[in-house]
Amino acid sequence: MNLTLKIWRQKNNKEKGKMVTYKVQDISDDMSFLEMMDVLNEELLKKGEEPVAFDHDCREGICGMCSMYINGHPHGPERTTTCQLHMRSFKDGDTITIEPWRAKGFPVVKDLVVDRSAFDRIIQAGGFVSVNTGVSVDANEIPIAKDVASEAMDAATCIGCGACVAACKNASAMLFVSAKISHLGLLPQGKTEKNRRVQRMIAQMDAEEFGACTNTGACAAECPKSISLVNIARMNREYFAAKVASEA
């Protein structure tokens, strides 16, 4: 199939960007979206133009590196990651608009590449269990109900891609933050420091200038890993309880 691509080009963080139109020919249905971008980039390169910069690594939908906003949706029309999107989701003659994630907390680095280190800083604020290597007890000493473990697992599935922020009209990071808070808060190992965790992570989230959640649900609807809104409710609960009950 032949396609028209409208792609955001921006040299770096300082210069202004703009949408640029390209054409690609003979795209196969079986190609992944990123392979289609590879084809474009090879063509650009051979013409002596600069290829479009975009983030990607595993191309298996698990590392969370790929991050394109395609035709108005993070990761495009299917509920998956950009790297797992295939060209059979499009048809001959389509125009595809490709933009970077847009959020104050995710400044554009170049073209479609954004800086998501804010997420790392949020985890550093408290997204962990404070145990040192080697001090642990036998793994089976703490039984954990199967359903609790699997609920924690569901929250832990988050790949940190930032699609939730990209989808939210307020560029809010609450789905991401709440997924980590839920994962650790549900497990006995993580419960001990849950008050501290939720307060510190939310303070960091605010410091990174992500928006506030309006409960539109766009994040969960677009999340490639189906992280649920229930996590946000749990986070709110933990936060209010922590604020009222804790010393700090």
Binding site: D29, D38, I62, V129, A149, M153, G160
Partner: protein, 679 residues
């Protein structure tokens, strides 16, 4: 130079404890005076960086991704082994040790492997304490599965995302130390050179991938946890960015490269669909527990399928060749990875491959669905007093359909996410038509040579995880790479590094203004300028694809002297062409992904050549290394313990100079060397 593996003397089971007691310790108050560089944030790197920081060392942690959490370890699906014996099925540290040594076809070091099995137990404890949500049973205790043909259930898993969960655990531990100020993170930063002075590793030179700045970092010790080099083959299951540059640069500076030709080809990957293919996707090995592998018996049938004239359903039962079950009646579809892969290649070479390209075999779940469905339906039938009619009436569906529906449910519960992934990629529904699979490069057992302390042949330079060669011999068993990465990082290096640091003292560190750093920086800059100046015709990917083709064809699933020699010449030509005709656009002082790739591919080409040298040298077949000249009458690998029970450790001798081979003789005191047989 005589290689000293530093394996402790004494009884196998006591070696590690004794060694821990005998090595030097760094005084707790002095630890903060030492700086350590850790390149890589995968399981090995993140666990090492976190543990060392917890001890009090100052750690600088580097990765080329935008966040440490995205290291390639994240992609591991299946699970992690540990000799916990929670299932009471006779597992033990010794059994895990034995399986790993045997699985590696007796080309790994006993002491290392035993230690790996010992600490495997602590890894699970550690990960659970961190909040890794492993699968559980209803009683709340940890669940296990058997994996990769193991005779015991010792694999711990978190859905199909074990690597992700383990890595997030390590990443969180790392993040905690960042918050504590003990670790400084350098994401989107690529190591391009190792700095050595007076025979000791002193630091590294890196490129900031966003600004292009070339920077130096100095430390008392450098840990390379930079992963494997499977991407030499262009197409592999590795992440796109996985590369060998850190290891290769260290190798050029004096670190020996061990067993480079030992690569693992995984039998169950989604086949290549076209020339645009950028990477291959692994389908978990667990699928072989239920799927049956086959191709048509007749070449004509295979041809008809390739041309789209026939479908797999058109091939009658007696016209199908379940070749693994036929050749290996006792292990059947569960033969080890290398055997399954090689056999897939054979049948495709015979012209019986399927799919558009003819490079695919079927992995069929029809029988599993029917088998499981029958079980369910028969148990339900009892409620209707065995009357099929009443049962059909109550369920509103014919009996055969009910079997299928119920069976599908069971298979879906087991492999649902894998089937979905398969369907997303191929647009085929594996519940209705057999999956197609083909082997693909997956893991590299070879890597930087290290001693028992994980130190390379350069003092103060360590290698951990897939980047070293130590524990898997010629073939790695499923679920043991995650184990090794975490063992190295959490439980080995924190002890062994102290020995070296205490010996050199904290004053023994170089300033980045030292000429050794300046020289290395100049070297790196010159390399980059050279690449940018070529302005040739071919893209980096063109070269990488060609390299991959050569390697896959001649140094892949099976190898022979003639092909290897031919390939060596081809790579040398390709390398020459690369340095005169590659096209790298843009500048250095910006995010330049083409330049990043060019630097990596340049190193892959040199490494590819060394892999071929190694494959040529090893005149035997073992594990992932199959030399066609050395096989049994039945076409199985023929090992030669007499002459080749050694680790090949190659030393770099200069640009375009032949490498020098050093041999570390392997001795086996605790296991008897046997021929692997899966008949």
């Amino acid at each position: 130079m005589k290689l000293n593996a530093k394996s402790p003397e004494g009884v196998l089971a006591e070696k590690w404890d004794k060694h821990k007691f005998n090595i030097k310790l760094v005084n707790p108050a002095n630890k903060r005076k030492y700086d350590i560089i850790v390149v890589g944030t995968g399981l090995a790197g993140a666990s090492a960086a976190a543990s060392l920081a917890e001890l009090g060392y100052n750690v600088k942690s580097f990765c080329f991704q935008d966040s440490p959490r995205r290291a390639h370890s994240i992609a591991a699906q299946g699970g992690i082994n540990a000799a916990k014996n929670y299932q009471n099925d006779g597992d033990s540290v010794f059994r895990l040790f034995y399986d790993t040594i045997k699985g590696g076809d007796y080309r790994s070091r006993e002491a290392n492997v035993y230690r790996l099995s010992q600490v495997s137990v602590n890894i699970i404890d550690q990960c659970v304490a961190q909040g890794v949500p492993f699968a559980r049973e209803y009683g709340g205790l940890l669940d296990n599965r058997s994996f990769g043909g193991a005779q015991v259930s010792r694999t711990f898993y978190a859905k199909g995302q074990t690597g992700q969960q383990l890595l997030l655990g390590a990443y969180q531990a790392l993040s905690r130390q960042v918050a504590n100020g003990k670790v400084k993170l350098y994401p989107r930063t690529e190591m391009l050179e190792l700095v050595i002075k007076e025979g000791k590793a002193r630091g590294i030179v890196v490129r900031n991938l966003i600004t292009g700045e070339i920077e130096s970092h100095s430390a008392h010790a450098v840990l390379l946890c930079s992963g494997g080099y499977g991407n030499v083959f262009y197409l592999s299951t590795n992440a796109m960015g996985s590369n060998a540059t850190a290891s290769w640069r260290a190798h050029r500076k004096g670190a020996f490269f061990a067993n480079p030709c030992f690569t693992q080809i995984h039998p169950t990957c989604i086949p290549v669909s076209g020339s645009y293919q950028s990477k291959l996707t692994l389908m978990s090995e667990s699928l072989r527990n239920d799927g049956r592998v086959w191709v048509p018996k007749k070449i004509e049938d295979a041809e008809a399928i390739r041309q789209g004239k026939k479908t797999p359903e058109d091939i009658k039962e007696e016209e199908r060749d379940y070749y693994l079950e036929r050749r290996y009646p006792s292990f059947g579809n569960l033969v080890p990875r290398d055997v399954a892969s090689r056999n897939a290649k054979y049948v495709c070479d015979e012209g019986r491959g399927v799919g558009k390209t003819g490079l695919a075999v079927y992995l069929d779940f029809r029988d599993a669905i029917l088998r499981e469905g029958r079980k369910v339906v028969e148990s339900q039938l009892i409620e209707y007093n065995g009357s099929v009619k009443e049962y059909e009436k109550a369920k509103g569906k014919p009996y055969d359909e009910l079997i299928y529906v119920e069976g599908k449910k069971i298979i879906e519960a087991k492999y649902g996410n894998l089937f979905d992934m398969y369907q997303r990629i191929t647009d085929d529904n594996p519940y209705e038509t057999p999956m197609m699979i083909y082997p693909a490069v997956h893991y590299t057992m070879g890597g930087l040579w290290v001693d028992y302390n994980l130190m390379t042949s350069v003092e103060g330079l360590y290698a951990l995880g897939e980047a070293n060669f130590s524990d898997h011999g010629a073939n790695r068993l499923g679920a043991s790479a995650l184990m090794q990465g975490l063992a190295d990082g959490y439980f080995v290096i924190p002890y062994t590094i102290g020995d070296y640091l205490a010996k050199i003292g904290h004053a023994d560190k170089l300033d980045t203004a030292d000429e050794a750093f300046k020289e290395a920086e100049t070297e790196v800059k010159a390399r980059i300028e050279k690449l940018l100046a070529i302005k040739g015709e071919k893209s980096v990917d063109d070269f990488h694809r060609e390299l991959g083709k050569i390697m896959w064809e001649y140094c892949g699933m099976s190898r022979n002297a003639e092909g290897l020699k031919y390939a060596k010449g081809k790579i040398q030509e390709l390398r020459k062409e690369f340095w005169s005709n590659v096209k790298v656009t843009g500048e250095n002082d910006e995010l330049n992904q083409t330049l990043e790739k060019a630097l990596r591919v340049a190193d892959f080409m040199e490494l590819g050549e060394l892999m071929i040298d190694d494959a040529l040298d090893r005149e035997e077949s073992c594990g992932g290394h199959f030399r066609e000249e050395f096989q049994t009458e039945e076409g199985e690998a023929l090992r030669n313990d007499e002459d080749y029970a050694y680790v090949s450790a190659w030393a770099y001798k200069g640009e375009n100079q032949p490498h020098e081979l050093h041999k570390e003789q392997l001795t086996f005191e605790n296991v008897k060397l046997t021929q692997r047989s899966y008949k």
